[in-house]
């Protein structure tokens, strides 16, 4: 990260800490939702942006995580244990969902994961004995951690922000390890990766499992945030919305999901001044962004920065041998 990037990151972190003190309850709810959905989008960015595996199932994993926490805490489990269970369950299911990715790719894989999302939705809606069906589950308690109650909107926002910081740091650390390089190789050229000794099967499954686990942990925060979960919240709409966040922010850019989630959560609110037209305006803005900047907002920033540094000399050829291919 260059100096300018570090300054921008520091400023964003300060803003994230200070902003809720100037917001009302609904504003704090919105930025809490941003933090939660950013975690889910980071997971999808890992699966799609880094490892190149198309997934339309991230919303379903948020749902699985949310229902796991809601059911377990109501059964008397402590929140931290329920949170870990949500992540572990989604890791296991994500690993299994990765198997189709070993056989099919691209839009075929998208349809497999889309079918999985529909399957999860149907289970959440129809298995009333477990999920309470269309009536949903209300009143998931916000946790008390080491004597700190996160019951208020402000406290829960800082809890979500802290979890986002932890998840982001863990993902950053993983992407800087040889695994990150392996995920990129999987995306760029799986055939060559295989010939270099990368077990592409394991890395594909791992990309799905970790990405899904992050989705599940986002769900584990979602349930106590909204305090009412029902199947429709975790249908295809949420999966597409998370995909939109990754693409708009910049797929394969670490900070893409942060910016994408900001756009997806806040832009509809900022366009509310148009009253009945706000969703139309939001859709038009997203279409324009995708048409003129398919690599997302961070891709646009990178392009602009490259244009500005174009004067730098290109990489020179092999001088020592006097070659000029």
């Amino acid at each position: 990260m260059n100096r300018l990037g570090a300054i921008a990151l520091g400023a964003a972190a300060i803003l994230a800490i200070v902003a809720p003190f100037f917001l009302r309850r609904y504003g704090i709810y919105l930025i809490s939702m941003w933090a939660v959905l950013t975690i889910a989008a980071i997971g999808l960015n890992l699966t799609l942006g880094y490892a190149g595996q198309v997934s339309l199932a991230q919303g379903a994993f948020v749902g699985i995580g949310a229902y796991t926490v809601a059911l377990l805490t109501q059964a008397g489990w402590p929140y931290p244990a329920a949170f870990v269970c949500a992540g572990a369950l989604c890791f296991a299911i994500g690993w299994l969902l990765g198997y189709p990715a070993l056989r099919v790719q691209h839009h075929y894989l998208a349809f497999v994961t889309l079918a999985f999302t529909t399957l999860v939705f149907l289970v959440l809606r129809n298995e009333e004995w477990l999920t309470n069906g269309i009536y949903g589950i209300t009143g998931t308690e916000r946790p008390v951690l080491f004597g700190w109650s996160t019951g208020s909107a402000l406290d829960f926002y800082f809890f979500c922000l802290g979890m986002l910081a932890v998840m982001a740091a863990a993902t950053w650390w993983m992407l800087r390890s040889p695994w990150g390089r392996a995920f990129l190789a999987l995306r760029e050229n799986p055939l060559r990766a295989l010939s270099l000794g990368l077990d592409t099967r394991r890395y594909t499954l791992m990309a799905f499992a970790i990405g899904s686990s992050l989705g599940g942990m986002a769900g584990a925060l979602y349930a106590p945030l909204v305090q009412f979960i029902e199947p429709n919240s975790f249908g295809l709409g949420m999966s597409f919305n998370l995909l939109l966040m990754v693409i708009v922010g910049g797929s394969g850019y670490f900070f893409g999901p942060f910016i994408g989630a900001l756009v997806a959560v806040l832009l509809p609110e900022w366009t509310r001044f148009t009253e009945g037209y706000y969703l139309l305006l939001y859709a038009a803005l997203v279409m324009a962004l995708m048409a003129f900047c398919p690599s997302g907002l961070l891709g646009l920033i990178e392009r602009v920065s490259k244009v500005m540094t174009r004067r730098a000399p290109p990489p020179s050829e092999l001088r020592s041998e006097g070659t000029n291919p």
């Binding site: 993983m174 760029e188 092999l318 070659t323």
Partner: protein, 250 residues
């Protein structure tokens, strides 16, 4: 010298076309074997069968005496077998250094230990040495996609050597490379061979490159071996001249 690679009665068909037909040969330790033949003679299919990219219909492949027929390419790589492809296969978004580290990292520890280990998998020095060896030092931090075609070919070859493989199969390493860079590539391959005593199998159309680099040449035509021997003998072999050079003497 013992055989590093043994191929016995290998056959591969695609529908009604037999691309590789009852091919048998072996490669001895430290040898540089060239495989030549006209387009469509089955060279790349043979490579892909040997390297686990394709499953042969019949025959057997052994590496160091161990049966490897149908083994996955990643498992073969861990046995010490590397390859390059006919078309460039570097990772354009990674730097030259990261391409090389990637090429060696899966040989370092377990998958879990790599997650908790160093970012460069402890290969920083090895990558630097390989970069120096292939004289790419001034490009070490450049994205591979920004390099010229010839430089990418050098990097592609360097990646195949990064894991310290004993057997390296190079599929048209000289393809599309200009004469100056070709001489550089040949000199680097020779130097690597001299230094490490690695065993090479090279598919190539560029006859001068093959004749200057290889210690033995094997000629394929229509999926069969029609000749093998020392480069100077192959030049004079009437069957080779007929099949490969279209009936005109070299």
């Amino acid at each position: 010298m013992s055989a590093v690679l043994e191929v016995s009665n290998l056959r591969k068909s695609f529908g009604g076309i037999t691309a590789v037909n009852d091919v048998s040969f072996d490669v001895r330790e430290g040898e540089i074997l060239g495989i030549i033949g006209p387009n469509g003679s089955g060279k790349s299919t043979l490579f892909n069968c040997v390297l686990g990219q394709l499953l042969p219909n019949a025959g057997e492949v052994r590496v160091d005496g161990k049966p490897t027929t149908g083994m996955r390419p990643c498992d073969l790589n861990r046995l010490g077998v590397s390859r390059t492809f006919q078309l460039l296969q570097v990772f354009p978004q990674l730097s030259v250094r990261d391409n090389l580290i990637l090429a060696g990292q899966e040989h370092r520890g377990s998958m879990l230990s790599r997650l908790f280990g160093k970012s460069d998998a402890g290969l920083g020095d090895a990558a630097r040495k390989m970069i120096d060896f292939f004289q790419l030092s001034h490009l070490a931090d450049e994205q591979a996609g920004a390099l010229s075609y010839g430089q990418q070919k050098l990097l592609d070859a360097a990646m195949a050597f990064m894991a310290g493989s004993r057997l390296v199969l190079l599929d048209e390493p000289a393809g599309g490379v200009n004469l100056t860079m070709l001489a550089h590539l040949r000199e680097r391959l020779r130097a690597y061979h001299a230094e490490r005593r690695a065993t090479f199998v090279v598919i190539e159309h560029q006859m001068e490159f093959v004749m200057a680099l290889c210690t033995r040449v094997l000629v394929l035509a229509e999926g069969r071996i029609i000749a093998q021997g020392a480069p100077q003998d192959i030049r004079r072999d009437p069957a080779v001249i007929e099949a490969y050079l279209g009936g005109q003497s070299a």
